[in-house]
């Protein structure tokens, strides 16, 4: 990534941050939530490029969210940065452990096994009183380096935090995608045998991808928990995972900014749909998904991006 692009990205995000005080609060909350989804989708892109579609990414999303809620409730941790660091670590740790099983699978088995694992967490959350059961837990308001903004200030603070997370994720994920491991995603999808015979373990590469994507999902979950001030088992449910997959398809796996734009579009459409057509949200979601797969299989993001001659990656596997 060139310095110019980094500068441009920083300018756009900085502009958004500066515009916050002049923006309606509901819109800021919506964008913050969209950015939390975008973070998860960034992680999905990493897997997606390797031909892996996780239907259970909500496992890591919910792990991040509950880590924030429980750290506050049990240990009185309120610092937003610490909470997010904890959430990222926990999600990555869970992925590292389940990765020993999951990384051996590909395609449909990977998808469905990750779904089953997320449903285990859902089952635990729903039944466990200490974890808030079906009602979930409220998340206490976080502090920022000892400062405790309240009211609109809190919304702004979270928004700026979200912008910072998006910027770091963008830099980090772009760097990863340009690394040997990142570029081998397409190689894994193309020909695993060849990758093994070049001297590197495909299983371990998938394990790494899973862990990184989980860390991003954990960050997204943490941000969502702080932004909604509440966590519940629905966050681990498979329809939540389905939403992430949905945005990834919509945005395509070609670029990180497309992931965030896709997530924003998703939140806007959802907000409008819920307001105008309360019973029709899934209908719209399903129809858009169907049309996208049938007619723009590379994702809507592909429409915005010029085809590069050397781009080996494709959107959908």
């Amino acid at each position: 990534m060139t310095g110019l692009r980094i500068l441009l990205g920083a300018a756009i995000l900085g502009g958004l941050g500066a515009a916050a005080p002049f923006t309606p609060l509901w819109l800021i909350s919506l964008v913050t939530l969209a950015m939390s989804t975008g973070l998860v989708v960034c992680g999905l892109i990493i897997l997606w490029r390797g031909g892996l579609v996780p239907f259970g990414q909500a496992l890591f999303f919910a792990t991040g969210a509950y880590t924030v809620a429980l750290s506050g409730r049990w240990f009185g941790v309120t610092d937003a940065f610490l909470l997010i660091a904890l959430a990222v670590t926990m999600a990555a740790l869970v992925a590292f452990v389940v990765g020993f099983l999951l990384a051996q699978y590909r395609e449909i088995f990977f998808a469905m096994l990750s779904l089953a694992l997320s449903m285990i967490l859902y089952g635990v959350l729903v039944k466990s009183e200490t974890l808030g059961s079906t009602d979930g837990i409220n998340v206490a308001q976080a502090s920022f380096f000892g400062m405790k903004p309240r009211g609109p200030g809190y919304t702004f603070a979270l928004f700026w935090l979200a912008l910072g997370m998006v910027f770091s994720a963008w830099l980090g994920v772009s760097a990863y995608l340009g690394s040997v491991a990142g570029q081998l995603a397409g190689a894994i999808r193309d020909n695993e045998i060849r990758v093994e015979y070049l001297g590197i373990s495909v299983t371990r590469l998938v394990h790494l991808k899973l862990t990184i994507s989980a860390a991003l999902a954990g960050a997204g979950g943490a941000l969502a928990a702080l932004s909604i001030s509440h966590v519940d088992p629905q966050m681990a449910y498979w329809t939540t995972s389905g939403g992430f997959v949905f945005v990834t398809i919509l945005a395509g796996a070609a670029s990180v900014p497309a992931a965030f734009l896709g997530a924003l579009l998703f939140e806007i459409v959802r907000t409008i749909a819920v307001a105008l057509l309360p019973g029709g949200w899934q209908l719209i979601l399903g129809s858009v998904l169907l049309l996208t797969i049938l007619f723009v299989p590379e994702g809507l993001g592909s429409l915005m991006i010029r085809k590069r001659a050397t781009a080996p990656e494709k959107g959908a596997a």
Binding site: Y176, G178, S179, V180, A181, G182, Q183, L184, G186, A187, R189, D190, N191, I193, R194, V195, E196, Y197, L198, G199, I200, S201, R204, L205, H207, L208, I212, A309, T310, P312, E313, K314
Partner: protein, 267 residues
């Protein structure tokens, strides 16, 4: 003199079927070994066992005095034994250059996936290595073509070029000229051998065309029924009575005095 690659009592059975038995071979540094035999004689099983694709049922494989029997293929590759494939194994959605970058980048970044995540895919070093390989294997005109669009011969070259990225000491070529027209076979082998000789690689290649074996091999291993029935210079091995009976069949001596199996050499 101790051998670079040493195989003792190697055996492989699949249930009741014996695919390889009692194989004993020592390969010294720098040799070019042709492996011949009919289909199902155990040639590819032999290659697959040495490169870790199959675990032997019995016997040992030693490389540089180290026991490598049953190690995973990627570890064996790291130790310095690479291979090519009968059906070229490349990344179809990558260009030739990117295929070679993948190979050189992995060779440079080491076995660890963390290392792979921290090193750049296209760096000055990986590009330079890739360009060198492109030049050595004479595929410059296809540099930016997608591997899925390559002619068969070029794809074979790319496959072998990728296998050499880690500068292996031993390279096993599984039928490098299969699927290549008679006219192009020699040209292809010239390119391959030229590139490999420049690196001083020890070569084992599986081949059906006896003319190619005669021309390029210093030594021939003849496989029949899962084991080696003849081992020696091309003249010795191809002259062996059992080899003539079981493998080469009726030999036809062409004008220039070369032997080829079962059919007249190209006009």
């Amino acid at each position: 003199m101790s051998a670079l690659l040493s195989v003792n009592g190697l055996e492989k059975t699949f249930g009741q079927v014996v695919a390889a038995r009692d194989i004993n071979v020592d390969i010294p540094q720098g040799q070019t070994v042709g492996i011949i035999g009919a289909n199902g004689a155990g040639k590819t099983t032999f290659v697959n066992m040495i490169t870790g694709h199959l675990t032997p049922s019995a016997g040992t494989i030693r490389f540089e005095d180290r026991d490598i029997t049953g190690l995973p293929s990627r570890t064996i590759m790291r130790l310095g034994i690479a291979r090519s494939f009968q059906v070229a194994q490349v990344f179809p959605t990558f260009s030739v250059f990117e295929n070679l970058c993948a190979a050189t980048a992995i060779a440079r970044s080491g076995t660890s996936v963390i290392g792979a995540a921290l090193s750049r895919f296209v760096s000055a070093e990986t590009s330079a290595d890739a360009e060198t390989a492109i030049a050595q294997f004479q595929i410059a005109q296809f540099r930016d073509a997608l591997a899925s669009t390559l002619p068969q011969g070029v794809r074979k070259l790319l496959d072998i070029a990728m296998a050499t990225a880690g500068n292996p000491r031993v390279l096993l070529l599984d039928e490098p000229t299969s699927g290549i027209s008679l006219e192009e076979k020699f040209g292809l082998m010239d390119v391959i051998m030229g590139a490999l000789k420049a690196r001083g690689t020890t070569i084992l290649f599986v081949e059906h065309d006896m003319e190619i074996v005669q021309r390029f091999a210093d030594r021939v291993l003849a496989f029949y029924d899962g084991t080696v029935i003849a081992d020696g210079s091309p003249a010795e091995a191809l002259g062996d009575e059992r080899v003539r009976e079981f493998i080469t069949g009726t030999l036809i001596r062409s004008k220039d005095g070369k032997l080829s199996a079962g059919r007249a050499s190209h006009a």
